[in-house]
């Protein structure tokens, strides 16, 4: 009995979140996933905790935030077509006029809306929100575009909000608030997963046969730092090393096909997210700045580095080239270590 009590107390102390509903009520949104992604052949779940920190993070971006009942373990679904990642599906509920409204959002990996499906909505205005012109207006909308559809206080439609009549306005606000919270909560609780998913998607696009990723860890080990010091100097290039993550890309037989590195580059007050795919010979296959929010001229400068390899950077002409050289050197150090063994 004492042992049982100890186990109970230990368990209670370790619990970090609460839920009022028993888990037998949980059901995957099967129909919604395949409606949102008709080409999907399977999906997989990633369960993470939406905690108080995530709630605070959402609250800093919006005039409203997650209700405490919305915290706890939640699932992000990844629709797949074979090894290809098609996007994300995240279901969140929102208090509507007639009870909770549950919406399944189909998002791309940059968290832009592809489409949505009501999983549960007992409001008579549901059909108005499912109209093609509403879906068209929402397609492609990211956080900022969705936010612009609501007033500053977030409790009414902005003049350029959704094309619905007054009767459906309440449900439209509920839908947009739900979408905003979905995007913000996904970023807050699944960011590490998103970075890995983007890396896998880039590997799929650039390396035929890519099947899995294996994290290179530690990334900035002694030999890597020594090689970086030799090639790009001690001062740094603006690449944010603590936020850098890199993976080896493997085929189905676990043979290496190349590498992907995800990082951020800081120049003055500008921070640019970068993701770069490099083949086995050290040639850049793709160098992207995820998301639509980075200045086009910076995106263009990084795009110009594609198809280059390290010998092309013997005489670096600018900060973008220097940052690219650092990425190549980081990955090369691990390729050298791999060939040594």
């Amino acid at each position: 009995m004492t042992r049982l009590l100890s186990l109970i107390l230990l368990a209670a102390a370790l619990c970090s979140s609460v839920h009022a509903q028993a888990f037998c009520a949980l059901r995957d949104p099967n129909r919604q996933i395949y409606k949102l992604f008709p080409k999907a052949t399977s999906y997989r779940s990633i369960v993470r905790t939406v905690d108080k920190d995530a709630r605070l993070q959402v609250g800093t971006r919006l005039p409203f935030t997650l209700h405490f009942n919305e915290l706890g373990r939640h699932t992000l679904y990844i629709p797949m077509r074979g090894d290809e990642i098609l996007g994300l599906v995240h279901v969140r509920s929102e208090a509507g006029r007639w009870g909770l409204v549950e919406v399944a959002w189909g998002l791309d990996l940059d968290l832009r809306v592809l489409n949505f499906e009501f999983q549960r909505c007992r409001d008579r205005q549901r059909k108005a929100l499912e109209a093609p012109d509403v879906r068209t207006k929402l397609a492609g909308a990211g956080f900022s575009s969705l936010r612009a559809m609501l007033t500053e206080r977030g409790d009414a439609l902005a003049p350029a909000g959704l094309p619905v009549d007054a009767a459906a306005a309440d449900l439209a606000v509920t839908l947009i608030r739900n979408g905003l919270k979905t995007i913000a909560a996904t970023e807050a609780a699944w960011m590490k997963d998103l970075i890995q998913l983007r890396a896998m998607a880039l590997a799929n696009r650039t390396m035929p046969g890519a099947h899995a990723l294996a994290e290179i860890s530690p990334l900035h080990d002694g030999p890597c730092l020594a090689l970086l010091a030799e090639r790009v100097g001690e001062a740094g290039t603006g690449i944010q090393r603590p936020s850098s993550v890199a993976w080896q890309v493997l085929d189905k037989e676990r043979r290496p096909l190349g590498s992907v590195i995800s990082t951020a580059w800081k120049q003055d007050k500008m921070v640019v997210e970068l993701i770069c795919a490099v083949d086995r010979e050290g040639k850049i296959l793709q160098l992207e700045t995820p998301g639509p929010w980075h200045p086009p001229e910076v995106q263009q400068l990084f795009k110009q580095q594609v198809n280059k390899s390290r010998p092309d950077f013997k005489e670096c002409s600018g900060p973008v080239e220097l940052a690219t050289l650092e990425l190549l050197t980081t990955l090369e150090s691990h390729r050298l270590a791999e060939s040594d063994t």
């Binding site: 028993a22 399977s42 699932t75 009870g99 549960r120």
Partner: protein, 342 residues
């Protein structure tokens, strides 16, 4: 059997070992995840404790206490989910529980009660065909789509079958406009037992449960293992849920036989209301039963309130308007329940 998932779950709550975070599903980790990391992946669990007091109009009091684990885990392989484990063992304490349900050895007893404990394997990725093995609710009537485990609100499984969940296997799935579940089970209820019956076939075919109107047809046909011996039972059922605004209007009708001799027809009607946050639910039920032309009529009124995260307070009043059997208990009783999940 019970200790393994509990031990794994408690261990899964410990801080991870130092080292890079690995996602063992999409990614092929350089060093491979430990068994503990793999178990933690896609795992949810809560402890669930509740106390229930029942007071009848003669002043008699009885009570029940529940302490259990509610565990949910999705197993994945490569890029797909392959199975879901649901595991809900509850230690249950009965005090002065008269009349005593057969699951208890006496009016004062501890018993391990299995609510749900099964694995649902995906045989087809779109969700159209799954195989469930373990302990599950008989797929029948309103109970199939509205989970009442651990709540005061209840439907007709107890009255119709003498049990809510059973051990066996089902095929189940979601089609475009329908959902279904068909089961074979032992008919023994809480325990895995074989007293010689042929088992129970049951099933329900219905429209998707998330709609504003939900309709289903269901059946049960088989031999149930009861303390009095094997009891053959058949039922055919119809159920409906219609939601309008904050109101829900539910109905269930079932008809069939017990022991091949007793004709039984039962009808349930419910009107419920919930607030927009769904933290308050109220319901009124009327249950009419006809057994060999003897009729019984019960009415129930209840409310459930979730005042804070994890907490649930419920009360329900049962009024027997017309007893089915003479001397079948007191005409009125009030039940109170406090529940906390953490």
């Amino acid at each position: 059997m019970i200790l393994l998932p509990i031990t794994l779950t408690l261990a899964a709550s410990l801080p991870p070992q130092a080292g890079p975070e690995q996602d063992p599903i999409l990614l092929a980790p350089a060093t491979g995840p430990s068994w503990l990391e793999a178990w933690k992946e896609n795992l949810r669990w809560k402890l669930d404790v509740s106390a229930r007091g029942i007071f009848d109009d003669s002043g008699y009091q009885k009570s029940l206490g529940f302490f259990g684990l509610d565990l949910h885990k999705v197993f994945t392989s490569g890029n797909r989910d392959v199975a879901t484990l649901l595991f809900q063992p509850y230690m249950t304490r009965a005090n002065d529980l008269v009349p005593t349900p057969p699951v208890f050895d006496g009016p004062d007893d501890w018993e391990l009660i299995w609510r749900i404990a099964n694995v649902n394997f995906k045989l087809q990725q779109e969700g159209a065909l799954n195989l469930r093995i373990g302990h599950f609710e008989l797929p029948y009537g309103l109970e199939q789509t509205i989970n009442t485990n651990g709540t005061l609100r209840d439907y007709t499984h107890g009255g119709n079958f003498g049990l809510k969940a059973d051990w066996g296997a089902t095929v189940n799935g979601d089609l475009d406009t329908l959902e279904y579940e068909f089961a074979w089970s032992l008919g023994s209820g809480n325990e895995v037992r074989d007293d010689g019956g042929s088992g129970v076939l049951s099933g329900r075919l219905g429209t998707p449960r998330d709609g504003a109107e939900v309709f289903g047809v269901s059946f049960v046909d088989g031999e149930f293992q009861t303390p009095g011996g094997i009891v053959p039972r058949t039922r055919f059922g119809l159920d409906a849920q219609v939601y309008r605004g904050p109101m829900g209007f539910f109905a269930e009708f079932s008809t069939g036989e017990d022991n091949d001799t007793d004709d039984i027809t039962r009808a349930l009607g419910e009107v419920n209301w919930r607030n927009s946050q769904e933290t308050i639910l109220t319901w009124v039920q009327v249950v009419a039963t006809d057994k060999n032309r003897n009729s019984g009529l019960n009415s129930l009124m209840g409310v459930r309130w979730e005042p804070a995260i994890g907490w649930s307070l419920s009360t329900q009043y049962l009024q027997v308007l017309e007893p089915l059997e003479q001397g079948g208990g007191h005409p009125g009783s009030l039940t109170l329940q406090l529940r906390y999940r953490f």
